[in-house]
């Protein structure tokens, strides 16, 4: 409440006088006070605005500290580079995102989570960051902390997307069935053929013991290579619950013929995976190259890998396999001998096995048998090594030794048909 100003002339009913009277001039002291107050108010508002802006604008967090002392040097280098990029462009969403992914790829989850958060603050429209935050959160002690991140990612992507599917699964796991259903239905409205949504609704129907509905929703995804085995299992259970044992049995038989479900395509995680470096990253890359038939490139990478990691028996073993696949058996054996020299005793068994394998390929049966013997001495449970030993002994004319080796293989793997057949053959022949 403002106090009445005794110096101000009053007018009736508060109406300002209309006469052209000379303007009343406030005494200088009041003018100065008003001026000071006005300046103070402007300054205050400016400070408040600045304060509010600081609170509102996306915060750029400090770059997380990582102890790289005991880290694979290549990984350390990748992390340092990503950190330097962030330092150079502290308000770059891409730089923060890249740092987060590099950290994520190498298991620094807490730090990666924080960096994804900063990237998300800098660009709230990129669904990758909350999605990958969600994925990290699902690894923690409370996976349901991932829900808000997946919700955010789901909002930023099309309805029929992996974040929605993962979110639906998590909601169901937490018992929030109605929310999960609402999400799946929203997807189905836009994409009636959505595999995620149909599968999710089929699973929900099973949970609610609505088995006919479960079968109905399962139908469109029954042949989906990502889901078909699990859909088949669901159908077996649904038929069983409905009392249709014949259908359940038929479906069960079909299920046994199905290959394992393929992995869900996950572009976000693939991007992270591609950033993996270091020995394990290189070996992963080698495996992918070999799977794609690029053997020469794989061996070339392996040769540089053993140069970079000369004390890694694993790297030498991989090189041995690569050379062996390229039919360079002498080179393969040399690489495996290096691996044997470097490996701890239990790991030597694996390398000895491959020495035997490539010697056998060269029909050097006696030498191969020696290598297999070294394998089973270190790893007596290895049914395959016993069997291969039997083959080599048989080829060398040691029928009794071969029979013993086949028997040993069968001891360890009773259902090993090849060993049983070979043994039967040996005992049948005079």
């Amino acid at each position: 409440m403002e106090k009445a100003n005794p110096s101000r002339p009053s007018s009736p009913a508060g109406v300002a006088p209309t006469t052209a009277a000379a303007p009343t001039i406030a005494p200088p002291i009041w003018r100065r006070r008003r001026l000071v107050l006005g300046i103070l108010l402007i300054l205050g508002l400016a400070a408040g605005g600045w304060w509010a802006y600081q609170g509102w604008k996306p915060r750029v967090a400090a770059i997380p500290e990582i102890d790289l002392a005991d880290v694979d040097p290549e990984i350390g280098e990748a992390i340092s580079k990503a950190r330097a990029d962030v330092r150079a462009k502290p308000r770059s969403e891409e730089a923060w995102g890249k740092l987060a992914m590099v950290l994520h790829a190498h298991g620094f989850y807490d730090q990666a989570f924080a960096c994804y958060g900063t990237a998300a603050d800098l660009d709230a429209k990129d669904p990758r960051w909350p999605y990958l935050q969600g994925l990290i959160a699902t690894r923690g002690e409370d996976p349901f902390t991932a829900i808000p991140y997946l919700e955010k990612a789901a909002e930023l992507t099309q309805a029929d997307s992996l974040p929605t599917a993962k979110l639906g699964g998590l909601l169901m796991t937490q018992g929030r069935f109605d929310e999960a259903e609402a999400r799946y239905r929203r997807v189905l409205k836009e994409r009636p053929d959505s595999a995620y949504a149909n599968l999710g609704l089929a699973q929900l129907a099973m949970t609610r013991q609505q088995y006919k509905d479960a079968l109905r929703y399962a139908e469109p995804v029954a042949e989906n290579p990502i889901f078909r085995k699990r859909v088949s299992a669901l159908r077996v259970a649904a038929y069983e619950r409905l009392g249709d044992h014949a259908a359940a049995d038929a479906e069960r038989k079909r299920m046994l013929t199905l290959p394992e479900d393929a992995a869900w395509p996950d572009a976000g995680l693939d991007q992270v995976s591609r950033l993996q470096v270091g020995l394990n990253g290189r070996l992963k890359q080698v495996s992918q190259m070999a799977q794609q038939g690029h053997l020469e490139s794989a061996v070339s990478l392996l040769k540089s890998t053993v140069e970079a990691y000369p004390n890694s028996h694993t790297a030498w073993g991989f090189l041995g396999k690569g050379l062996g696949d390229m039919k360079d058996y002498a080179g393969a054996e040399e690489a495996f001998q290096k691996a044997i020299a470097l490996a701890p005793s239990l790991d030597k068994a694996e390398h000895w096995y491959y020495v035997g394998f490539y010697r056998q390929e060269q029909r050097k049966y006696k030498e191969a048998a020696d290598a297999y013997l070294a394998t089973v001495e270190l790893r007596p449970q290895d049914a395959q090594a016993h069997f291969s030993l039997g083959e080599c002994l048989e080829a060398s004319g040691d029928r009794k030794g071969a029979a013993d080796a086949y028997r040993e293989a069968l001891r360890h793997r009773p259902g090993m048909a090849s060993a049983r057949d070979r043994l039967a053959n040996l005992t049948k022949q005079p």
């Binding site: 108010l41 005991d70 349901f144 937490q174 699973q203 669901l234 005793s345 449970q381």
Partner: protein, 571 residues
């Protein structure tokens, strides 16, 4: 005035901004009132001095190290008190030998390993106990990586190891859990040995471990192994026990290998014959249904226990089994990895199961972990089975630490049943069990101190075994039933004990082989709540006959002997 207005406005804006920034609220488990602790750590006063040796930490990351070892609670000298057998995993050349602890009349334990015959070294995994030769003394079976070893109890604390040739148990594979069960109902206990994987490759595992360090492998890289079934051959006409014979292939178990970790034998389909459930790590579980002719048929998918509710095979490990809601149909609980959800398969109708972990509250918890050993037990005697589980990682959760196993440590968990089959996480109230992170594997349950309350023993990789005494205040009434068949001179493994008070009914199975690589108190334990009187106890013996026994009072151990009750027509 302007300053105050400015201050208020600023505060208001700040509050708005803070609320606006917090766009991702963290969900939390519902808070419940804190309660008293249910367990006290009495390891030191029990004089159990056992520190598990998992073998050298030499950079080879030998897979069996991370699987851990179990524990057996059994009364080897028939003095009425449970004794404890603890296993090391440091290899046959190690100085660390398994330890046998005999319980003294004052409740402390004395290490009687030396000269017992069971003080052996090996890559020790699981343990099973039962009287295999029906001589009235409980025998011991130890699974190792590379062997299954049978120790016949000679009495007076002495055991003799039978060679594979003598016992007929030739299992050179990687044995994990084992269980005795009379699958052919001939009065001789047969044996299921669960095998894990064929460890025939070495792979560089641990790609995602911090900094690219190597870590333990998982089972997915290896071929799952065949679990074995051994039939007890009984005695010859001179009374000499003949050992076992391998019936794996003939019985059908050889047709479906799998990376088995847990086993539980019970009548899953209600036909009166025991079936075999095997928890497979990372694959569909197996439920071998007894065909009553010496063979089994695998029906896990058909009966709903192969996969989780999403139709996925997961890392199935420890097993608990029991009727949690008093409806008369036991449920199956199987522990899993931290990145998965534990499986709770509710039964109904008889023989069919549905995964319902979220519906019974098991997915609402304060924290989670990779759980191995687990038991369903009525710790507070309110008449409802609670669930305890012990946790410990299989992959390093941080960079290598000075104490190697610390990087794998997690906290255990306790879920309390509200009496209607719904569970609440009470881990925070139980620091002795759940307070300190550990790399736990085995969890065994039994009334160690004879006060009627169920105590726990926890085994930890590379750490001391823990004895946890039940200290639940104001526990309800209780009853422990020991079911014995005098003709067989042993506990009637496979018998079902039924107790009724008013309109409440309970049932328990006499089967010590459950949890993870452990053998538990073979007696049936009942929490009775406020009931201080019970109806006659019904015992469904393993051969299908039913008897009733009058139990004079509660809060006691009551022994029922086959043939001494009132015979009843079995339904």
């Amino acid at each position: 005035m302007p300053w105050r207005l400015f201050r208020d406005l600023s505060l208001w804006i700040t509050c708005l901004l803070v609320a606006g920034c917090n766009r991702t609220p963290v969900t939390d488990a519902p808070k419940t009132e804190a309660g008293p602790a249910w367990f006290a750590d009495v390891t030191a006063e029990s004089r159990i001095d056992f520190v598990h040796d998992p073998g050298p930490i030499d950079g080879s990351y030998f897979f069996p190290q991370s699987v851990g070892s179990g524990v057996a609670l059994f009364d080897f000298d028939n003095d009425g008190r449970l004794d404890i057998y603890l296993i090391h995993n440091a290899g046959p050349k190690s100085k660390s030998k398994n330890q046998l602890f005999h319980q003294q009349p004052d409740g402390t334990f004395k290490d009687v390993s030396a000269g017992s015959g069971v003080d052996v070294a090996g890559f020790g995994m699981g343990v099973a106990t039962a009287d295999v030769n029906n001589d009235g003394l409980v025998d011991l079976l130890v699974n190792e990586y590379g062997a299954t070893r049978l120790f016949i109890n000679q009495g007076k604390g002495n055991f003799t190891e039978w060679t594979a040739a003598e016992s007929g148990i030739d299992n050179p594979m990687w044995g994990t859990s084992a269980s005795f069960v009379d699958y052919d109902r001939d009065g001789w206990l047969d044996l299921v040995v669960v095998n894990y994987v064929e460890l025939s490759q070495t792979q560089p595992c641990g790609n995602t471990a911090k900094g690219g360090h190597r870590d333990y492998c998982g089972p997915d890289l290896f071929k799952g192994a065949v679990s074995r079934l051994y039939r007890n051959r009984g005695c010859d006409k001179d009374g000499k026990w003949l050992g076992f014979e391998d019936r794996t292939q003939a019985a059908g178990l050889g047709s479906a290998p799998g990376p088995g970790l847990g086993v539980f034998c019970a009548d899953f389909n209600g036909d009166g014959w025991p079936d075999i459930f095997i928890a497979n790590d990372g694959k569909a579980n197996h439920l071998w249904i007894n065909q009553k002719n010496g063979t089994f048929k695998e029906e896990a998918v058909r009966r709903g226990v192969a996969y989780n509710s999403f139709g996925q095979g997961q890392a199935n490990m420890g097993i608990a089994y029991g009727d949690v809601d008093g409806e008369g149909l036991p449920a199956l609980f199987v522990t899993h990895l931290m990145s998965e959800e534990h499986g709770f398969w509710k039964q109904g109708p008889r023989g069919l199961f549905e995964e319902k972990a979220s519906a019974v509250g098991l997915t609402t918890r304060r924290w989670r972990g990779t759980a191995f050993g687990t038991v369903m037990a009525d710790f507070d005697h309110d008449g409802a089975l609670d669930i305890a589980m012990v946790n410990g990682g299989v992959a390093r959760m941080g960079p290598p630490t000075t104490q190697f196993w610390d990087a794998y440590a997690q906290r255990n968990q306790l879920f309390v049943n509200n009496g209607r089959g719904h569970f609440h996480d009470r881990s925070e109230d139980n620091p002795a069990l759940c307070g300190k992170p550990n790399v736990a594997r085995g969890l065994a349950v039994g009334d160690l101190n004879g006060d009627g309350g169920l105590d726990l023993v926890v085994t930890v990789i590379g750490g001391p075994a823990q004895i946890l005494r039940n200290v639940v205040p104001r526990r309800g009434h209780w009853l422990i039933v020991r079911a014995v068949d005098p003709a067989l001179k042993r506990d009637a493994i496979g018998a079902e004990i039924r107790v009724q008070a008013g309109n409440r009914r309970w049932q328990r199975l006499v089967q010590p082989g459950y949890s993870y690589m452990c053998s538990n108190d073979p007696r049936a334990h009942f929490g009775l709540g406020a009931a201080d009187k019970i109806e006659p106890i019904e015992v469904l013996w393993p051969d299908g006959s039913l008897e009733r026994f009058q139990c004079p009072d509660v809060d006691r151990v009551f022994e029922v002997q086959r043939g001494k009750g009132q015979s009843v027509q079995a339904k």
